[in-house]
């Protein structure tokens, strides 16, 4: 392994360890996806009876919940950097010859892995509730990948906010400002042709919606490669751009010292 990879791996391990050492947080992380799928499944069950809705609601909702996990779980990523700056851990790492990107990339990888672990639970529960993954194993794997990509984008941007804002309140405010609108300006809960027209238009520009469409087209239908390909492509570009934004934020932090 190159030093850069090793260092990224160390940051990843650090994230994982921190999670494992907080039993309450770990428990919430496990229970949360289950609650969401059951709660939203029950709440919006009658949606499937609206004329124009195709298929069962559990089939429809599962990819939506996976994407929500990415938005909500990875959103708090930046909190770790607020703490690291306050504790001096950040400066300590910056005076080593390590690859700078390891800090963001390692942490982003941890957030993406956490979302994938939650997705495993969602898939199992959805199967128990009778979901039909028409995309097969490959489609489900693609859904994991889509969740991880969106989580990476969200985590990078959250890290940038944490490093620039340096206050927990800034991260909490910024992240919670975006989470719900981005989630509901998508087809996560509601089929596209049942959404108001302006939301249908807005959703086209919403990365959360790209992820929902890609995950749904991959896992829940006979995989539609043109939808999956374009959406995954756009999400991948966005993940790279976000990582770049985070690295600019780190550079800006260092200049402010």
């Amino acid at each position: 392994m190159t030093p850069a990879l090793r260092q990224t791996w160390q940051v990843f391990l650090r994230g994982t360890r921190t999670l494992m050492r907080q039993p309450a947080y770990l428990l919430i992380t496990i229970v949360q996806p289950i609650v969401w799928l059951l709660l939203f499944g029950a709440l919006f069950k009658s949606v499937s009876r609206i004329p124009g809705f195709h298929g069962t609601y559990i089939d429809f909702l599962t990819p939506g919940v996976v994407v929500m996990l990415a938005v909500f779980g990875a959103g708090w990523s930046g909190m770790a950097f607020v703490d690291d700056i306050a504790n001096g851990v950040m400066d300590r790492m910056l005076v080593t010859p390590a690859w700078r990107g390891a800090l963001n990339v390692g942490w982003v990888a941890y957030e993406a892995a956490a979302v994938m672990a939650q997705t495993v639970l969602i898939v199992i529960l959805a199967l128990l509730l009778g979901a039909d993954f028409k995309g097969g194993v490959i489609g489900v794997i693609l859904m994991f990948f889509v969740g991880a990509l969106l989580a990476s984008t969200v985590a990078s941007l959250s890290n940038a906010v944490g490093v620039l804002g340096r206050q927990r309140e800034t991260v909490i405010g910024t992240v919670s400002f975006f989470q719900l609108p981005l989630t509901f300006l998508s087809t996560g809960m509601m089929q596209k042709n049942l959404l108001p027209h302006w939301i249908q238009t807005t959703a086209k520009f919403n990365p959360v919606n790209w992820a929902v469409e890609a995950a749904r087209a991959a896992a829940m239908q006979k995989t539609d490669w043109s939808i999956v390909g374009t959406r995954v492509g756009m999400l991948a570009v966005l993940a790279v751009v976000s990582a770049f934004v985070a690295s600019r934020a780190f550079a800006r932090y260092q200049r402010s010292l």
Partner: protein, 324 residues
Amino acid sequence: MQTAIEAVDVRKHYPPDVQALDGVSLAVEAGTIFGVLGPNGAGKSTMTRVLCSLTRPDSGSATVAGIDVLKHPVQVRRAIGVVGQKHGSDPNATGRENLVLHGEFNGITGRDLKGRIASALERFELVDAADRLVRTYSGGMSRRLDIAMGLLNHPQVLFLDEPTTGLDPEARTQMWTYIERLAAEEQMTIWITTHYMDEADNLALQLAIVDRGRIVAQGSPDQLKRELSGDALHVELVEYGETGAIAALEHVDGVGEIELDGRLLRARAADGGAALPAVLAALETQQVKVASVKVSRPSLDDVYLRFAGRAFEDADSEFGEASA
């Protein structure tokens, strides 16, 4: 003399109007403990950050271990160890995990890293605590871990930014012992900033006194004290505002730099003991009542007062808690 750290006319300004470094030039001989003494906000930490490649100055140049800090920051980072003012260890990881992460970040891996960690734990008496979370450590243990982390890459130059601030007296003394041993056994160059006079006096072979972003005096603690003319006389008066006291002392031979600060009358004399009877007699003639008298050899406090033009404590509290 081999130079381990050199800075030429380093300036740094923080918006809107803080001139943190206002033209700092210095040279540190290799293998010595170099103390940087100053009140909060004097620019000690900023200077340390510039030399560690953590921040760039607006102008000026600096080399550390012979490497240009501005041109080759990564090479400098290979040659230095840094212990910042804040802890720098992850409180939610164990001591060993912190050491592993820091070692890997310095490019040290595998068996080499394991060996270094084992001897670092031994040396800093952290073997028993190695697998406990750092947040359960005492202040002194946590500081020792910080230094162990800073030494993992066997640096040529070690930077310690206020390493004993917030430690209890016992832990401080212990930390001094570690630092002295490091300098003696490893011929390491140690840069230590402090706002404790006694710490600078005890540890530093060479000392720079900084105030408002400038070096106001430089030399060994003894040299600096010798430069002051003679002993300090502190006369505590019974009443406030006895301006007559100044006039009285002005007529005593060999007494100078007379100042009255509330009830405290300060003066310097080449030989404090010999001047004392005449000083007391002169005060009595002016009917100034004396509460107590103290003659002391010059301290770094006096050195600071002389070169910075204000008392150290005043400068320290003027800046308050927002240290930079």
